[in-house]
Point group: C2
Chain length 231, copies 2
């Protein structure tokens, strides 16, 4: 069950500068009246493909995945979002229903703003409109670029890529707990689960990484970096 949290006023929120730094006091009040913070446990679904879009969501804490539940019980993971990312930004302005599902990979806190209130602010504040467009555009560009980057690589390169992604961009640490199953890695970088497992084992045998279940330690990040580039 998602749990509603007590949250501070938008004016004093530490995430204010994320997008709302230039709003007027009145606009921040409107925002505040139409937002709530929600806690999702690991594994819980935040929103489902096809549901009506009524709110604009961004991630305050945790980690979530955006994905399309596809036919033969194999999802397609579009991207993994981290705190400060706008997780519902995709498609909220283009369609009335979500194009992707979102679920929590770790316990997560989401700030949810009523779409109507957000639209009202956009309507009346052009600078804010341009800022949100920039943010949106950048997110999309990033997803598209990453997709091409991954597809150009061989399987070893893709695994190296995703390990570096978690290590560098998510946990800022050479050692971390994988927030996803091997299967989810497969769904994210477009390969089979067997090959994800196989190549992780290869990396272990080659002394590039240390594996203990979901716990991964990068023993040779430079080598991994070069596999990512060349493999």
């Amino acid at each position: 069950m998602p749990e509603f949290l007590f949250s501070s006023h938008c004016k004093t929120c530490t995430y204010k500068d994320l997008l709302f730094g230039n709003l007027s006091s009145k606009e921040l009040d409107l925002l505040n009246e139409n937002k709530k913070e929600i806690m999702f446990k690991k594994g819980e679904i935040i929103s489902r493909e096809g549901e009506d879009i009524t709110s604009f969501l961004y991630l305050k804490q945790g980690l979530v995945k955006l994905y399309t539940p596809s036919l033969n019980n194999k999802d397609q993971i579009i991207s993994i979002a981290k705190p400060r990312d706008f997780i519902s930004l995709l498609s909220i302005f283009s369609f009335s229903t979500y194009k992707y599902s979102i679920s929590a990979l770790e316990d997560s806190v989401v700030c949810s703003v009523e779409m109507d209130a957000l639209k009202k602010i956009i309507q009346n504040n052009g600078t804010f409109a341009i800022e949100i467009m920039q943010k949106m555009s950048r997110m999309y560009d990033d997803i598209i670029e990453k997709r091409f980057e991954i597809n150009r690589k061989h399987l070893r390169g893709r695994i190296a890529y995703i390990l570096i992604f978690f290590s560098t961009h998510i946990y800022q640490n050479d050692e971390f707990e994988l927030p996803v199953s091997r299967r989810e890695i497969a769904e994210l970088i477009e390969m089979t689960t067997e090959n994800v497992i196989r190549i992780l084992s290869e990396f272990r045998k080659d002394g590039i990484i240390k594996i203990d279940g979901k716990r991964i330690k990068l023993l040779n990040p430079e080598r991994l970096e070069s596999v990512c580039k060349l493999g």
Copy 2:
């Protein structure tokens, strides 16, 4: 050399409803003073990756490709745009330089609006801001979805897909002149040029299509459709 064309006032432009239908008379005047129509010959480059973005472009006539000139002299084609598409929409709001190059696959007419003027209109017209966000978001979603769709398919399915794309979405005709080389098809649907040629030949031998150089005729569109879905 791109050639500047004489163009009608925005108020009477047949493309007005595309995005500018709800602008005020004053806004349309501003738009008109800051736009020009440019003709590009087949093969000419409209904008280059890395160049400063100074204008917002949409396609009035012709066909263009968006692509990233990549390292080992093999481009990556992101998408093919047709009339009424906003060809510079990608990344113009996120970065100050183009993230993709654009070139004309056929003789094309582009309407080019000064970015500053467009931003001024967005600033002052919230409804317009939301409309342009919707359009942008839809374009991005479309590109991402198509990418996944193509990647899920085997090579035969990809070729079928691209033939149906030209036949149905671009030319609305079972018979058409391919606007791209086999190599460009390869760059668009991520396979080798040899295999593009090989599979086109297979389709010809199977009686699914008729080939005469760049001229293609779909003899059995239903069969092609099923190859696209299943292959």
